[in-house]
Amino acid sequence: MDFADSDVDLAFRRTVGGWLDEALRDVPDQEELSQDEREHWSRVWQDRLCAGGWAGLSWPVEHGGRGLDALAQAVFNEEAAVRGAPYPLNGVGMMLAGPTIIAHGTDEQQARHLPGILHGEEYWCQGFSEPGSGSDLASLRTTATRVDGGWRINGAKIWTSNAHNASRCLLLARTDAEAPKHRGITYFLAPMDGFTIRPLEMINGDTEFNEMFLDDVFVSDDDVLGGVGNGWRVALTTLAFERGSMALNLWVWARQAVDRVVDLAVERGVADDSAFVDAVGALQCDAEAVRIGSMRMVGETRAGGVPGPETSALKSLWAGVVQNANRLAVQLDEAGGVLLDGDGAAARMRRYLRARAHTIEGGTEEVQKSILAERVLDLPRSR
């Protein structure tokens, strides 16, 4: 077992790192910015990625990509995260929509959408979750009814990032109410004319997610991806690309959360407190376990395997580290974090409250544990 990067990997990292260092020179630390400012930098960053030819990193050359393997995108995202880069505003387009259309789309669909994504002209969002369908995604109730030349769609979607910037939506809707729940779903590449978008205010005041309401929205037959009734399978492809592209980001975010709380304690002169030292020890163990576990996952994938249920353990560990580190940071404040007018206190509280989402988004903590129980421990389904 060897954890050292190969020469080829190192060379790729150096190329990526060199470009990132240059491209990020004038980009401020995103953690300290307001949401509007972050969104501004997300857009700037997206344009730089497109101009630099880094969109479509893992897309085949014939589709205008760089033709690298799926891991290349994960490594690029990792190197970007290490440097605190903004999240690209069309991440959904580059990393989810593009690869899914390449995997399941017709020639016409590929020709229609891929160039716009590569050139930063067509922005996408993801319309999967619904108010009544979170963890149990396949129970979704948005309906698509057959009409002349296409489908009429009605329903509501939720937790949509960047809906207000997007012109296209990866949309799941039920086209067959009679079929078993996983079989009656169709995947649409929906234009967003006629969508009503309402921002959701989160507990930290940010509005990074939206609700979307669809009342008699028309989507043409040309925009069905992967065949009518085949939407669940196509959606799993998208989710796999989502997990894969972010596979090496979790450990970076965990380490950065620990860095921040340690730096704060050092600055305040309280880093020698024995309870603090103990807490940092525990955080560091878990944060490193995420990093090493991610390397092993990549190793398995490269050896021809598929990432196993152990990825649920990594997600769970990551969420725990970030939540606990952020709570610790808030509680280092003199007043236990409750006076938001203190120096940097509001930003710390904002991050802490945001971190509460980590055990909910991307598969709740309970879902992760169910996956581990069923697939690692071979216990019966408990849900």
Binding site: M1, A4, A279, L379
Partner: protein, 344 residues
């Protein structure tokens, strides 16, 4: 990066795993009688003694991970073999990079069985503080069943003849523990990474114990029925086991990486070793406690096996520096690395 087990490592795990199967049961037998060498004890000492021994000291280029894979398999089955203690003692002698003299042949082929003496009475960790009596060590496993002791002191590592062995009452009778009085060192070698290498042997066994406890608990959760269903279908039963499996995986990943870091003299080797030992102890104790819980009433009887895992977990967590001490070392090193004066 190829962070996967080699073919050879998979074969080691398999071979030791089947030896371990035959040595199973000795942990229980020791509850009612003196420790007896399990089946496979001699074969392990004889045939696996070169695992993890660097070439410079007489090895055949086997990596430390090779050894840990073997020890983990023994821990999983609670095999009460002297092999892990012997291997840790050998590793303790392997750290001096300047050393060019091979280890004695009778040590490497298991004719001369060693044990490591590292923990000092009243100290939570190695080099924590100078022991009250620099020539007394505690928590020494199999001291009366070993031929010699490898001791760690502030000045270094030395092969010592115990001048007095006081048997203590071990919470895990299959791992007899003693206080050992040592003769002063005639020749001390630099500890180098030896203590790190040896601590990882203990961490690996803890990871095995955690794995064995998780498996036993899952088996119970799959088969025991109450309220008309197997209890593993209740989330209140299943989720703590998922947590135990997560902690076990984290500890094993940390242990493997630490071994690679030590073998390759990486700058972060020290903190990784502390992290591995801390996480492995915590994972093993947690898994064993959950194992008891999932067994319900039977879990608190001597008759059922879960307590055997807890006993072994406690002994290993306490040895080679307490788990809590290792965790604080991780915290202290992490904080030190972020101080403005420290190189980033």
């Amino acid at each position: 990066m190829r962070a996967t087990f080699t073919q050879e490592q998979q074969e080691i795990a398999e071979a030791v795993g089947s030896l371990a199967e035959s040595g199973k049961g000795t942990a229980r037998a020791a509850l009612s009688g003196p420790w007896q060498a399990p089946a496979g004890d001699a074969a392990l000492l004889r045939d696996f003694g070169l695992l993890g021994v660097p070439e410079a000291v007489g090895g055949i280029g086997s990596s430390l991970i090779d050894l840990l894979v073997a020890v983990e398999a023994l821990g999983e089955h609670l095999v009460a073999s002297r092999f892990p203690a012997h291997a840790a003692a050998v590793q303790l002698m392997c750290g001096d990079r300047a050393r060019s003299v091979p280890l004695p042949a009778d040590v490497l082929d298991g004719r001369r069985v060693l044990t490591a003496a590292v923990d000092a009475p009243g100290a939570a960790g190695w080099a924590d503080r100078v022991p009250v009596d620099p020539l007394v060590r505690t928590l020494v496993p199999y001291a009366t069943q070993a031929d010699a002791v490898v001791a760690l002191g502030p000045a270094g590592v030395w092969l010592a003849d115990p001048i007095g062995v006081t048997a203590r009452e071990s919470v895990d009778p299959s791992v007899p523990l003693s206080d050992v009085a040592l003769s002063a060192a005639e020749q001390v070698t630099q500890p180098g990474a030896g203590v790190h290498r040896a601590a990882l042997v203990v961490a690996a066994e803890l990871c095995g114990v955690a794995q064995g406890a998780v498996e036993l608990a899952a088996e119970q959760a799959r088969t025991r029925r109450q309220f008309g269903r197997v209890i593993g279908s209740f989330q209140g039963v299943a989720f703590p086991l998922a947590e135990a499996a997560t902690a076990r995986k984290a500890a094993w990943d940390l242990t493997l990486y630490a071994a690679w870091a030590v073998d390759n003299a990486r700058p972060d080797a020290e903190i990784q070793v502390h992290a591995a030992k801390a996480a492995a102890g915590r994972a093993a104790i947690f898994a064993a406690e959950r194992c008891i819980q999932v067994h319900g009433g039977m879990g608190i009887t001597m008759e059922a096996d879960p307590h055997l895992f807890l006993r072994r977990a406690f002994v290993l967590d306490a040895r080679f520096g307490r788990g809590s001490w290792h965790r604080r070392r991780v915290g202290a090193l992490r904080i030190a690395a972020r101080r403005p004066t420290a190189p980033r």
